[in-house]
């Protein structure tokens, strides 16, 4: 049970979903001013704000929501008949918005959590989207500085898994090679 409890906060792959969330109104009212800055990560933000309240949170295993996978939703970008250029454009927009949101959470909330797992999750997502924003953009489009220390933390927090090594490598290769690599990844998922 303890391991599962850790999973819900620590595991960056946990699938929180806004249509599967119910929360006391006070949590939303108390944090309403932050929501505009957290547009694409509302589901996780509501979870974090609830955690900060120091009251009880619960996840039930019953599948009470039906999540639709279709051409227009984020999860299915590579599953349908979307061209690589269109895929790239959609990903760029979403990654940029998520980067801005995670940066906001990182700057304003990471120190408010007593629990290391929450801090780690915020830092990990912030770095993840910061790196991806640079990767998915042309070199001249972004003026974001990546520090070596950030790459070190990213790899360490990801326990040096394959993704955590590939992502920093993509940061430093020329645009033409980078986009070729992204196209290969896109085609791989498209055929899955």
């Amino acid at each position: 049970m303890q391991i599962v409890r850790i999973l819900i906060i620590k595991n960056k792959n946990i699938r929180l979903n806004i249509s599967s969330t119910a929360v006391k109104k006070e949590i939303l009212i108390n944090n309403i001013k932050h929501f505009y800055r957290l547009n694409l990560i509302l589901d996780f933000s509501i979870f974090l704000f609830s955690l900060l309240s120091n009251k009880k949170l619960k996840h039930v295993a019953e599948k009470l929501t039906l999540y639709r996978i279709h051409e227009q939703n984020v999860s299915a970008f590579t599953s349908s008949n979307v061209s690589f250029e269109e895929y790239l454009k959609r990903r760029q927009n979403i990654i940029k918005e998520r980067y801005i949101s995670w940066k906001y959470l990182y700057k304003n909330f990471s120190n408010k959590f007593h629990c290391s797992a929450c801090k780690k999750r915020i830092i990990l997502e912030y770095l993840n989207y910061k790196f991806k924003y640079v990767i998915f953009s042309k070199r001249e489009e972004t003026k974001i500085n990546i520090k070596i220390r950030e790459i070190y933390i990213f790899i360490l927090l990801n326990k040096a898994n394959l993704n955590s090594i590939i992502i920093p490598i993509l940061l430093f290769i020329p645009d033409n090679i980078k986009y070729k690599a992204l196209e290969i990844i896109y085609l791989k998922y498209k055929t899955m």
Binding site: I6, V23, K55, H70, C118
Partner: protein
């Protein structure tokens, strides 16, 4: 006697294709209709959809806001419920979802947040099996057991994670 009320906020931007199904799934809830309200916040007018919203007795709010957050905020401000839950226009609820949400909050006054697992459907509403590769990519490590996080758990987590303490 005090009766708990759930407010369901349905944010919708431009997309009409699946909204009718979402609304139908709300109308078909097993929870008594006096225990929940539905607030649809959308940026368009559509005769068929608006007629159905009125027929179901749901609130119909027109919003120019283009963001999900903006529409959620508008819905929250109008909500009368103690518990707020959401339904995106392309998703559906199982018929007993609101009843289960109501039960969970009713039996535990300290509960502040509830999350449930999801099944996956395609654009025609057919269930997608979990061994489907796309679903596998989406769900990855979602826990399929019940989980409760009590206030003390944060301290417990801190203790358990001492060995991997890197950033503190």
């Amino acid at each position: 006697m005090y009766q708990m009320l759930i407010s369901v906020i349905v944010p919708c931007y431009n997309r009409k294709k699946f909204l009718l199904y979402a609304l139908e799934s709300l109308y078909n809830q097993t929870l008594s209709k006096d225990k929940f309200e539905v607030i649809v916040v959308k940026n368009f007018e559509d005769e068929k959809i608006d007629k159905l919203i009125n027929y179901y007795g749901f609130k119909n709010i027109y919003s120019k806001d283009t963001t999900l957050a903006g529409k959620v905020i508008e819905g929250v401000k109008l909500a009368n419920g103690d518990i707020i839950t959401f339904l995106e226009d392309d998703d559906l609820y199982r018929n007993n979802r609101l009843e289960r949400v109501y039960e969970e909050f009713k039996k535990d006054n300290d509960l502040i947040y509830l999350h449930n697992s999801q099944a996956f459907i395609d654009s025609n509403g057919n269930l997608i099996p979990e061994n489907n590769s796309l679903v596998q990519r989406i769900i990855k490590t979602q826990p399929y057991t019940d989980v409760e996080i009590n206030p003390l758990d944060c301290k417990l987590l801190e203790y358990l994670l001492l060995k991997t303490k890197i950033l503190d």
